[in-house]
Every structure is written in structure tokens, then in C-alpha cells.
């Protein structure tokens, strides 16, 4: 088996219906599971941004990118390693209070992470945390040890690139320029 790596793929597309389906189908075809997925608007009007993470081989990731790029309404798909992006994720924990012996311990545990408390009731508290996937995993691990997690949910990873160049808007303006004869 070839080594697999966690890749972060950023896709920009037109805002048409059915594009997520087409992108997902590329993963299905290669039998690669999507670890996390976030779809949102981007800084460009009518351009949608997908942030996708998946564990796969270097060979597969190249195929995945080329096949996504080939979809008619996909503007660009690129993949990044962790040092090329700033990334973040949000998680929410619904924690039952019964398992905590005293509030001090809970408070100390949560203080070690970038959390904030959304709601406190006698039965549970809701905690939100923003941060890296690793930090979220770590907090989950600690809470899970004391069996207090009633519900857990995390958003897909979101990321912006570290490069000073804005690849997608540059690509669009270059392309517009190259085809300008046709547009008259």
C-alpha cells in the first residue's frame, strides 16, 4: 500500500446547482472518502469555494485534482499542505455535567483550549471551540476519557492560502485577457 497523506483541496466553482455532486463523484470513482467538506461563498461574486480534506496517495490526489478541474463549471482546484494555508475548524461539545466531580476540574480542562461556553444548564453545558483539527481532537480525547460527551459536531476545515498571490482571481483575469478577441 502506498502512503496516504491528509490533503486539503480548495475548489472554486461557478454557483450552479449540481457541482457538489460532480465533485463528490470524482471521490466516489476513486473510492476515496472525504474527511471534511465545507462549501461557502468566496470573496468573488458568484464564485463558490469548497474546502475538502481527504486521506489519499500522491498518485490519487493528482488524478482527483485533474478530474475536478476538468468539470465544466469548476474554475480551479488545487491542493495544499499545512504550511501553505491558514486553517481552522469549529467544534461544538454538549457535555453532561453529571460526570464532573467539581467545576474547578472542568474549568481547568476547558481553559487549556480556545473554547467558549455557549450555554450552561444543570444537566449539560455547550462548549464551542475554534482551532486546528489537532487541538479539537485533543479536547475531544480528554472529555471522552471521562465519558461526558453527549453530542459532538465539527465543521469542515476552512482555509485560506498563505501565498501573497490570489491564484483564482489572477487566473480568471488572465483568461479573460487571453480570450478577449472572442468577447467582442
Amino acid at each position: 500500500m502506498e502512503n496516504t497523506v491528509l490533503y486539503t483541496i480548495i475548489v472554486h466553482s461557478e454557483n450552479f446547482s449540481g457541482i457538489l455532486n460532480q465533485i463528490a463523484a470524482v471521490f466516489t470513482r476513486l473510492q476515496v472518502n472525504i474527511e471534511s467538506l465545507n462549501v461557502s461563498a468566496s470573496s468573488m461574486k458568484n464564485v463558490h469555494k469548497f474546502t475538502i480534506t481527504c486521506n489519499t496517495t500522491a498518485k490519487n490526489i493528482e488524478k482527483i485534482l485533474k478530474q475536478i478541474n476538468k468539470k465544466m463549471d469548476v474554475i480551479n482546484a488545487s491542493c495544499y499542505t499545512d504550511d501553505e494555508i491558514f486553517q481552522s475548524e469549529i467544534a461544538m461539545f454538549k457535555i453532561s455535567t453529571d460526570e464532573f466531580q467539581n467545576w474547578e476540574d472542568t474549568s481547568r480542562l476547558l481553559r487549556g483550549y480556545n473554547t467558549h461556553i455557549v450555554e450552561i444548564t444543570p444537566e449539560y453545558l455547550v462548549v464551542e471551540m475554534a482551532g486546528s483539527s489537532d487541538a479539537i481532537n485533543s479536547l475531544y480525547g480528554e472529555l471522552d476519557k471521562i465519558h461526558c460527551v453527549r453530542q459532538f459536531v465539527r465543521s469542515g476545515k476552512v482555509a485560506v492560502t498563505a501565498s501573497p498571490l490570489e491564484q483564482v482571481s489572477d487566473l480568471l483575469s488572465r483568461r479573460q485577457e487571453r480570450y478577449k478577441d472572442r468577447l467582442q
Binding site: 461557478e14 460532480q22 485533474k66 478530474q67 476538468k70 465544466m72 483568461r175 468577447l183
Partner: protein, 567 residues
Amino acid sequence: MEKNSEKISGSEALLRALVRENVDTVFGYPGGAIIPVYDALVDHLHEINHILVRHEQGAAHAAEGYARASGKPGVCLVTGGPGATNTLTGIADAMLDSTPIVVIAGQIATDMIGTDAFQEVDFTCVTQPICKWSYQISNPEEITWAVSRAFFIARSGRPGPVVLSITKNAQVGMTEYQPETVKFIRSYDDDPEIDITRIREAAAAINAAKRPFVLAGQGIELGWAHEEFRQFVEKGCLPFGCTLLGLSSMPSDHPLNKGMLGMHGNYCNNVKTNECDVLIAVGMRFDDRVTGDVSTYARQARIIHLDIDPSEIGKNVPVDIPVLGNCKKTLAMLTERLVKVDRTEWIDSFRKYQEEEYDRVVRKELYPESGPLNMGEVVDAVSEATCHKAILVTDVGQNQMMASRYFKFTEKRSIITSGGMGTMGYAIPAGIGAAYARPDRTVCVFMGDGGLQMTVEEFGTIMEHNIPVKMILLNNSYLGNVRQWQQLFFDRRYSFTHLENPDFQILASAYGIPSRRVLDRKDLKDAVREMLQTEGPFLLEACVAEEGNVMPMTPPGNSIDNMLMEC
């Protein structure tokens, strides 16, 4: 509001938009969800010739045949539900073979979608993975934009199939006719920028090569780069082999043309692929039927790959110098930088392997002294009788490989065959499409007894329109290619490959198609002559050796130069 604006139905707008895209021929089959378009079609019959097929799969393949022979997108018009799903094989086939077709399918009304209504199928979703673009038109205002975009996408860049589903409410709703022309899609780079550094690198590599070998693919035909390719190989003294779909990109008798590549290709090409120092692939995709075992494929060579589709580069074999772009342009830029190098010795070195193949395979296939007819000699007789000027359409299997090995070409866009999908049943409808695309040319359709029966219903289409397709049935009473594999690799255990066949002449006569059966070698030439001299369609049934094999052959999974000459 606008007093002068005329309101027309969506169906009428669709037909006007098709005419605007220069559509003059449509292959189709009506049904509930497309009746309004068929109704509007009645008023456009002076400009659009509609060919009623007998099954929607036939419509899709006919559109493919039309596109391949003409270079224009082929159009197919069907209803929703089963009418639409029946075209799937043709759409997938067109995707793998880069054939520009536009499939227009009816769809139930928007407000019914999602209710599992009669003949509802989510055709956009089903077709997305197997076409270049699939779109559902849900209101009449979108029609002119969607049609123009569909044709632009189908024919530009690397061509391919496009699917438009049109809802019933979009067909009957009233709209103003606003013609649209899509010439640019910002997310789609149909004419990629050419990297001059890569051109220089590639030219330097070719100029320095002692043993260059060129692979000619269908990209040459699709890009209308025949002349550019000829100048490229002639100036550089570059011998070349052709992929199955690239066979008519250059005349068969060109001195640098060494024939076909791959599993059943010409031996010299496969040997030289693994001997050359620079391998130049033009508009081809290193299909496994061309490469054999990729781990032993051209490992010694620097590989230059010219292609318009970035996803092809490095997909199957590692490429040293990728040259992205339309090969009509990149070939010309390369040729400009080539120096004339004398490569006579290298070119002559092919001959030894050509002679070996001739002695061990070709002579026996084409000039047997006794025994039943061979498939190859039938192909050769037809090619000869048409002065190698005909369009060859094939089905899939032994008939396809024999036809591609022994049919000769003098004109471009002359081979129409299902290369990527290997779709049995392709030949008859694709032949119909080719006949409409090129009424000035003879269309010879080769098929086996298996494939003929998969789309035999199109005999009805041929009969109705008296379509002049010259059909040659190579009847061996077997699914010959599978039988050959069973013989060679499964210890002759013939599992469900023998066919108990009907009398094909009686079948043809039921449709009023003249036919002739040939069993004897001495009658072959006369039968071919009769076929070609008969006006309209003809079925020539050649009863060939039951267990004839296509040789040479690279066994699957083997190195491509490891060819069996006999079995």
C-alpha cells in the same frame, strides 16, 4: 411592454437555436415528454432533417457516427425516462472517444419533478459523470443560452458529449426569442496557452533523437491538424504508428506510416516503442490497449506528450516533456524548429519486423490457399474495391480489429469505431450517421454476428430512408473476440460464446435490404462488386472461419512488444 417582441414557445425557440447552430440533421425518437418539440419540428422540416431511429441507443450512436464523419456535433432528440436512459451507452461512448454530440432529452414538468412521476428519471444527475456538461433547462428563457453553450462545449477543446434535459413547462412556456452565442466560458480553458519553453525543449529533444517514434492519435483528426502533422513527420523524418482512432489521420501508404499500435497492432510499432529514444505522442491517451503493461512501456525513451487536455498528461505514463495545447498549433510550432536529420537507418530497421509479421500473420490471413474465408481477406477485398477511399465503420470485437488492421485509408476522418467503450451494436447506427454526414462517400460497415443482433432494429431506419450503408457481416457464429480469449487464456472452455443465429439474409429481406451470402473464396470479389454497385443499402454476409483469430496479439498484462504471432 415591448410591443414588437414576438412570443414563441420554448419548443420553437429550441428549434430556432438548433438551426442557428447549423444543425441540419437530427436522429431521434418521440415520446410523451418531448411531444411539444416534435410538434414544433413539423414547421422546420425544410431545414432540419429528422431521422426516426428504432431505439434511442441507435439515435445516440448515429449522432456519434455523424459527428465523427463530419466533424460537426451530432444531435439526438429523445423523450425522458427510458428514452433518455437508452442513450446512456452512446453518451458514455462519446465521452471516451471525444465525440461531440448533443443529446436533447425531454423531462417532466418542473413542478412534477421529485414526485416519481411517470417516466421521471434524474437524467442530469445520471449523465453528469459520463459527459462533458449536463444541464436541465427548466424555463423557456434559458433555452437559447443553454443550446449555444451546449454546442460550444461539445465542439471546442477536447470535444465530447453534452446533455440537455428540457422540462415540459420549458417546452410549452412562451418566451421572446433572444438569440445567444456562447464563445467563452471563464471556467473552461478550451484553447490552452502554449508554453514556448516546452516547445523548445520538445524540439531540441526531437532534433537530438537518434531513434524517434511518433504516436498519431485521434487528436490530429479532432484538431483538423492533418497537414500540420504531415509536415511535422516529413520534416523530421519521423516514423509513426497510429492509434485505432487515429488510423485515418494520415494515408495508410505514407512511407513513414507504420500502421497501428497496440494489442493487435503492427509488430514493428510495438517493438520500436520499446526501442526508441524519444517517443512523441500526439493527441492520444496511452490507453491500456496501446501500452500493455505500463511498467515496461517505453521505459528507455524520453516521452513528449502533445495534448489539449491537461488531465491526460501523465495520467497513464510518466511524461518528460508535456506540450499542452491544440496540436494544430503546437505541431506547427514544433515543425518550425525541427532540423532535417537523416534517419534512414532507423526507419529501415522497422522493415525486419514488418516482414516477420507479413510472413507469419498477414500472408496467411489475406492469401490462404484453402479452407474457409478469413475475416482479413474479406476486409482487404472491400478496401481494395473501394480504392481505399471509403469510410470504415466497425462494430466491436474481431471484426473491428481485422477491419482496422487490413482496411486502408487515403482520406481523413475515415474510421468510425468505438475505441474506448468497445460498444457492441455501435456499427449499424454509427454507419447510418456517417452516411448522412457524408452522402458523397461510400460507407462500409463491418460487424460480427453478435454486434449486428444488438442493434438490428436499425434495419428499419435503413429501410425507411433507403440509407446507402454497405454492411459486411463477418459471420463466424461466435462472439469471436471473447472466444479467442477463452481459447488462449481459458483453456478453450467456450463459455456462452457460441451463437445460434437466424438466417441473416431472410432478416435483411424482411426489411427489403438486398443481400448476398458468400461462403466461397472465388465468389468474394464478385459479391463485393455487387454490394458496391447496388444502389442503397446492402448486406454482404461473409461466412468466415468459425475459429479464426486476430493475430498478432499482445496477451493482456504483457509488455506491449511481447506479441504472439500464432496460437
